[in-house]
């Protein structure tokens, strides 16, 4: 029988189906960071349990780490305690960790694929909602809470209910400057932040396959912003080429067998989906969020909404509050919005391709006078090293950007990188919630090239017109 990609991978991991319909699902890869794991390790100790398979786990600190002055360590004592707890837990249980100072340290969702630790057909979990990133490799990758982190540590399994499967097909050709980020935001704008709830989403179509692996990771990263359990893209040459030769990727005859199996990881032609959405790449313009939810998004050529266009009272209420929080009026043209800070980074957009693309925009130019801070924060030590080898750091620094050490940084402002009250950002991260990037901070989500252009001009511009 014809199967979807999701069904193939899911089916390969079902340990047992219990009488009540719940499914015990085997987990191949477990990524662990400092914020959502300490209570799970405490739980193991309290119950005198051990991790089921330590070889399945990779840990690194990313949320709390500073992006400057690494030589003096973490100065915030509370953050330091949390990072030290991760180090200690990894030591105690024998878990592989890339500690601070290791060139491989960085944002887990950048590091995992970079190391070849995420492979097609895997089930991947992490106590972080943006685990969906790894679906770009035809893996079922899900964010979980701390209790489930403990459950996977102790049993190598998750108790699951099978989600429905939706396919979103984007056919056609993307215009120059349109990225995976724009596709993601466009889709969320269409289906809403709860549009994917209860579903696993497969992305397909010529516009999707035209994306690099980095672009696909960006798209899958934001699947969670559409409420979906996970996002996935089938295997093709780009997937295989990306993985080959990475430190933890299989080699020799094992590689050959693996590749053969991976080549089957796409939906069968007659596979049935619970829901199908078709979109045209030509309809996608550069996207900019105007509000406090990723679904509050418009093309850069558009404006903030008119309250009278709200579909009901609840939406009108939400828009009213969002406009007030963002200090924007109805019907404000996006290109008229000026920014105070620019952030290029986060698990959504901190890979080498993101910095190459942004560097092309800023090269030989200067950050606008009204922009107080422009940050470029690589997703890992290796991304940073690669960018520096290509001279990208010089381009950013010459333009007036700060070139930082890897970490989650201003995506969620758990470290010192943040917006001050009332400040407005162009940000390549994934969430524009109230206070997300700092108390009272106002976030506009965009692609790296759109963020770079906003840094140079001081306000949003249509990257398709960039010369």
């Amino acid at each position: 029988m014809a199967k979807t990609l999701f069904e193939k991978v899911w089916g390969d991991h079902v340990v047992t189906v219990n009488d009540d319909g719940s499914i015990l699902l085997y987990i191949d890869r477990h990524l662990v960071h400092e914020v959502t794991s300490p209570q799970a390790f405490d739980g193991l100790r309290l119950a005198d349990r051990k991790p089921w398979r330590v070889g399945s786990i990779l840990a690194t600190a990313d949320h709390n780490v500073p992006t400057t002055g690494l030589e003096s360590g973490i100065t915030d004592p509370v953050s330091r305690t949390q990072v030290e707890a991760l180090d200690e837990n990894c030591r105690e249980f024998g878990i592989t960790e890339f500690p601070m100072g290791d060139i491989r340290q960085g944002i887990l969702h950048v590091v995992g694929p970079e190391q070849g630790l995420v492979l097609p057909g895997m089930t991947v979990v992490c106590g972080d909602s943006h685990t969906s990133t790894h679906g770009a490799f035809a893996a079922i990758a899900m964010g979980i809470g701390t209790s489930e982190v403990e459950h996977v540590l102790a049993t190598q399994c998750l108790i699951q209910k099978k989600p429905k499967v939706m396919r979103i097909t984007v056919d056609g050709e993307l215009a120059e400057g349109i990225t995976g980020k724009d596709i993601a935001l466009y889709i969320i704008g269409r289906i809403g932040t709860a549009g994917g709830t209860g579903y696993a989403i497969e992305f397909a179509g010529s516009a999707i396959t035209s994306l690099s692996m980095e672009g696909r990771m960006t798209l899958c990263n934001m699947t969670i912003e559409a409420g979906a359990r996970c996002g996935m893209i089938g295997v093709d040459d780009k997937t295989v080429t990306y993985i080959k030769g990475r430190p933890f990727a299989p080699t020799g005859s094992l590689w050959d067998k693996a590749e053969q199996a991976w080549r089957e990881l796409h939906s069968d032609p007659d596979a049935k989906f619970d829901k199908e959405i078709h979109l045209q790449a030509e309809d996608i313009a550069p996207q900019v969020t105007w509000g406090t939810s990723p679904e509050m998004v418009v093309p850069v050529t558009g404006s903030t909404p008119s309250l009278d266009d709200a579909r009901d009272e609840i939406q009108r209420e939400g828009w009213t509050r969002a406009l007030a929080y963002m200090e924007l009026k109805e019907n404000t043209a996006i290109v008229d919005i000026a920014v105070d800070k620019v952030f290029i980074g986060a698990c959504t957009n901190a890979r080498i391709e993101d910095f190459r693309a942004a560097a092309r925009i800023v090269k030989g130019r200067k950050v606008a006078g009204n922009v107080k801070l422009a940050l470029a924060v690589p997703g890992s030590g290796l991304v940073k090293q690669q960018a520096e080898a290509e001279g990208l750091d010089i381009i950013f620094k010459d333009a007036g950007f700060e070139w930082r050490e890897p970490g989650c940084s201003m995506c969620l402002a758990m470290n010192a990188d943040r917006l001050e009250p009332g400040e407005r950002s162009a940000s390549t991260s994934n969430r524009n919630f109230e206070n997300r990037q700092g108390v009272g901070g106002r976030t506009h989500l965009v692609s790296p090239v759109m963020a770079a252009a906003a840094a140079i001009t001081g306000h949003f511009v249509d990257i398709r017109d960039w010369r």
Partner: protein
């Protein structure tokens, strides 16, 4: 885990859609390595005029009078009602920990975000999904009647209003079983260790590159 069977509790209405977990418990409190003590910081930005920091004594912090949780009539609420997509965003289990620590045991909304929904069941909190119309009715009744209480019966899967209107809700059999009995699902899964080991052996044969 504490069990949840039935609850007759005071209802607090949080009239917002897309309440995200950043709003439920802001990031600065995620630096704690404990599971408890988050209650005073629940909805910190919405509840207080100033910005909370971990470890801060909240008893004398200036409160926002317009926020429902600060209003006299809702003190002691155990059931929170909200609009669609409650708990979206970050996977942080600190959100249900904070709700639980504050004293909220049941949430009612037209929809919940997946990860948050799941996290609630691991912490003795029952998230109830009702239709948008039903939730709307609960909002107007709660707003109109001081001391408005609902009765939530998990074994019967019902929510009953003071006037006797009964709403039925759906919940997975496994989740229901664990919540009613306060079961540790790790212990339950480990009872199936043999099955897991057998699966792992076969999986290693068919996909050795994963190991």
């Amino acid at each position: 885990m504490k069990p949840f069977k039935t609850l007759q509790g005071l209802v607090v209405p949080l009239d917002r859609a897309n309440v995200d977990t950043d709003a439920i418990i802001p990031k600065q409190f995620l630096k704690s390595i404990k599971r408890t003590g988050y209650g005073p910081y629940l909805f910190d930005r919405l509840r207080y005029e100033d910005v909370g920091e971990p470890g801060m004594d909240c008893s004398n912090r200036p409160k926002r009078a317009d926020f429902v949780l600060n209003q006299e009539r809702y003190q002691g609420a155990e059931i929170l009602i909200a609009r669609e997509n409650f708990g979206c965003g970050s996977s942080r289990e600190h959100a249900p920990w904070a709700l639980d620590d504050f004293g909220i045991s049941c949430l009612i909304a037209p929809s919940f975000a997946d990860i948050f929904y799941n996290n609630c069941f691991k912490n003795g909190i029952l998230p109830v999904t009702l239709s948008a119309e039903q939730v709307d009715m609960l909002f107007s009744e709660t707003n109109n009647v001081v001391g408005y209480k609902l009765t939530v019966d998990l074994p019967a899967q019902t929510v009953t209003t003071p006037s006797g209107t009964v709403f039925r809700f759906e919940v997975d059999a496994f989740r229901k079983h664990c919540l009613i009995n306060g079961l540790d699902d790790i212990g339950l899964t480990l009872q199936q260790s043999g099955l897991i080991q057998a699966f792992e052996g076969k999986h290693k044969e068919s996909a050795p590159w994963f190991f």
